[in-house]
Amino acid sequence: MLVGPALLGLAFLVLPLAGLLVRAPWATLPARLAEPQVLEALRLSLLSATVATAGCLLLGVPLAWLLARVEFPGRRLVRALVTVPLVLPPVVGGVALLLVLGRRGLVGEWLAATFGVTLPFTTAGVIVAEAFVAMPFLVISVEGALRGADQRYEEAAATLGASRWTVFRRVTLPMIMPGVIAGAVLCWARALGEFGATITFAGNFPGTTRTMPLAVYLALETEPEAAIVLSLVLLAVSVVILASLRDRWVSTP
């Protein structure tokens, strides 16, 4: 009863990938890969997705902790708000970011006036856009892990004299580590594939803001074969990284 739909599901997910592989211009592949623009976009993609994930960890884990462990009025609403970037079309997310962090945005104007910092059209802007879209994956995953973790261990740590911060750092965090890793991996993958919010908020310029998905999209306009190559590169790199992470961290001992 379960195997049939499972196989259909797998086929549904894998067949488009097979389509890419079948149509890939294998003969010209090495030459296309050697193009500096491809490597530049790949480097930028990996860098910004990684930094975005680090930022999401820094802010998202405490946020998940707040949602899972602290009772406060309106918690349900806040939890719903956290998932907004999941349902918002990414392009709209990008416009929303411009309205807040853009040169004339609510916060952006102040940033520009006070620190001379403008985010749009910079690599930092790419990171912000990716973090915005990807953070819910991390928060939801970590919150789930926190809710699943046995809170009595935290109580045990408290009776041993551990402050809230020490409890979190030395007991809670190690115990929910698989959930944090899984969330970070999801977050990283989402950031790596981010297109809409990035191009809307950060724009598209080779070397500073043109990540792989943007390069793929533009290549699609004129050179579908190049787009396929770029997609394959992105796929191959992410599959290798995710597979090695999964083996090292996510597997159960």
Partner: protein, 260 residues
């Protein structure tokens, strides 16, 4: 288990085929249709034609009672690709010769006609905060400029115009389409952008347009053609005729296009 699976796999295309043949018999019937019977006309048109073609479509429906005109607006390159992949369209209007060439090369259309031209302008946010009044001003590194990516028609035209004027511009971004470029101008994220006159008009009073001489070097031709496999047949040609008629020209010029 495998047998059951394969039977289901067979059933799905069958259902699809049934649905498709049903559609086909409705749209492409050879029998003389009763005047009240609805006939569909599908037009694939460049996104920059959204306003004008919607207006012309309404006019076409009024002139041809019982006809329903459906539009698919989008990036010309995307539309061309959809057509070559077999999308059922009757008319294709592109924002440049290149996408049309994709379709004619595939022998899916012949004899495209240029029905409009579009000229670039410098678009600046309302009030022109960076005091841009000439193309040369865009070379100032303090002026943030957005261009369309070279892969899309407005980008190609911008490069041509800048080359012709001998101005070197380092944009902060190469946007994926005109709308995205205009959004950056509207929100004031950039000080200037090169977009088409029609786009400036469509953006209303949030954006101001500045003409520049080199724009004449990068005029973009809009070709239109009926498609070889047009399901609506004759109706397709009648729509093209409307676009080329004085009435069509009026609508286009009002929107900022130039007559060919």
């Amino acid at each position: 288990m495998f047998r059951r699976l394969s039977r289901r796999a067979l059933a799905l295309p069958a259902v699809l085929a049934l649905g498709l043949s049903g559609c086909a018999s409705g749209a492409g019937s050879d029998e003389p249709a009763a005047p009240a019977a609805a006939t569909n006309l599908t037009v694939f048109a460049a996104a920059s034609l959204t306003g004008t073609f919607t207006e012309l479509g309404t006019a076409f429906q009024t002139a041809n009672p019982g006809t329903a005109v459906k539009f698919n607006f989008g990036s010309s390159a995307t539309l061309a690709r959809q057509i070559t992949q077999g999308a059922p369209a009757d008319v294709f209007a592109a924002a440049g010769p290149a996408p049309m060439k994709t379709v004619t090369d595939a022998a899916l259309a012949s004899a495209p006609v240029t029905f409009a031209r579009n000229r670039l302008q410098i678009a600046v946010p309302a009030g022109n905060p960076a005091k841009v009044d000439d193309l040369a001003d865009l070379a100032d590194p303090k002026v943030k400029v957005a261009l369309c990516a070279e892969q899309v028609p407005c980008g190609a035209a911008a490069v041509k115009a800048l080359d012709a004027a001998g101005v070197k511009v380092v944009p902060v971004t190469l946007e994926q389409d005109v709308k995205a470029t205009l959004t950056k101008v509207e929100l004031g994220e950039v000080d200037a952008a090169l977009v088409y006159h029609t786009d400036v008009i469509a953006a209303g009073d949030k954006v101001e347009g500045i003409e520049f001489p080199a724009a004449g070097q990068a005029v973009n031709d809009y070709p239109i053609a009926t498609l070889a496999k047009a399901p609506a047949g004759d109706l397709a040609q009648r729509f093209v005729d409307l676009v080329l008629s004085p009435q069509g020209k009026d609508v286009l010029v009002k929107a900022g296009f130039e007559a060919p």
